[in-house]
């Protein structure tokens, strides 16, 4: 990629990651939530891979770590669901709800958003790595 693309990527990829984390954490107050936030975080890593080549991006988040992160997100989501059994039924909102419009309110919803963000972000990055890395090696 040309020098202009590399310079702009170096300046903005951290901001894209921060914006994705903001959308995930404020999912219960403003529009957003786990799903678009996870996709934005995956897009920041894909941006790094498109501008600098696959070695730089895979050095920051290689395939084994992304796979572990995705499984961790799924297990966290299931764990929150099953631990609702403490109060009565599956997916019970057992953390106390706090007052509205604060950051730490709404029970299990912020924790579920974080779990979904790990899962979606790491999963989509793995899909892109599989389509790029493995199709490059077959083209030679």
């Amino acid at each position: 990629m040309t020098l202009i693309v590399k310079t702009i990527t170096r300046l903005t990829v951290g901001l894209i990651l921060l914006y994705g984390i903001y959308i995930v954490l404020h999912g219960h107050l403003t529009p957003g939530g786990g799903f678009p936030g996870g996709v934005i975080i995956a897009l920041s890593f894909i941006h790094l891979m498109l501008a600098f080549g696959k070695d730089t991006a895979l050095k920051r988040l290689n395939q084994l770590r992304a796979s572990i992160l995705e499984s961790l997100g799924a297990i966290m989501f299931l764990g929150i669901a099953i631990s609702g059994f403490l109060g009565g039924y599956f997916f019970l909102n057992f953390i106390k709800r706090g007052e509205a419009f604060n950051l730490f309110s709404a029970g299990i919803i912020p924790l579920c958003n974080i779990a979904i963000c790990f899962k979606v972000g790491a999963g989509l990055f793995l899909i892109f790595v599989a389509l790029v890395v493995l199709s490059n090696s077959q083209e030679k």
Binding site: G27, H28, G33, G34, N93, L126, I127, F128, A130
Partner: protein, 173 residues
């Protein structure tokens, strides 16, 4: 709602360009334009969660389509039974649109939804869950089981892509 009609006409024109363009890269770019028009339509229809999600998912879908198909452009010819195939497809679509026009009269008028279940969610969403974003409270508290199903579908799709694109051999250079 004239802006919604204009936006839908723009999307239809973009879809016709995406279907009929001879170059694969042009049709993928036209598909991106249709997705952008859809994100604007979600914003006009007062659904900001969906506008954000549709925009970023559209970007990722374009990247995957372009990255996978950039070098594989092929020309095409018309073969034998072209007239019969096109005529039967167009007649099927005309019959479908005619029947849809008859049955669309039974839907409630545009702008007056029924809201049988959603009226409960609107009135007691804040007091039962404590979240200000009512769509988040529906996804992750009232209907959390469906989100578990969606997480499973995403997991399965990632497993499927990794299994299909497995390396069969290594080319040493």
């Amino acid at each position: 709602m004239t802006e919604l009609h204009l936006l839908l006409l723009f999307m239809i024109v973009g879809a016709i360009v995406a279907v009929e363009a001879r170059d694969l890269l042009s049709s993928v770019v036209a598909l991106g334009a249709v997705g952008l028009g859809l994100s604007l339509a979600f914003l006009i229809l007062k659904a900001p969660d969906l506008a954000i999600t549709q925009l970023v998912v559209e970007i990722l879908c374009l990247i995957i389509l372009i990255r996978a198909t950039i070098k594989r452009d092929l020309p095409f010819i018309r073969d034998g039974r072209w007239h019969f195939n096109t005529f039967s497809t167009l007649s099927f679509i005309i019959v479908f649109l005619g029947l849809a026009y008859i049955s669309l009269k039974d839907l409630p008028a545009f702008g007056q939804p029924l809201l049988r279940v959603a009226a409960n969610y609107l009135s007691e969403g804040l007091s039962k869950t404590g979240a200000a974003n009512l769509v988040s409270s529906v996804i992750l508290d009232f209907r959390a089981y469906d989100t578990l199903g969606e997480a499973t579908v995403l997991f399965t799709a990632v497993m499927g892509v990794l299994a299909v694109m497995r390396k069969t051999g290594r080319i040493k250079d």
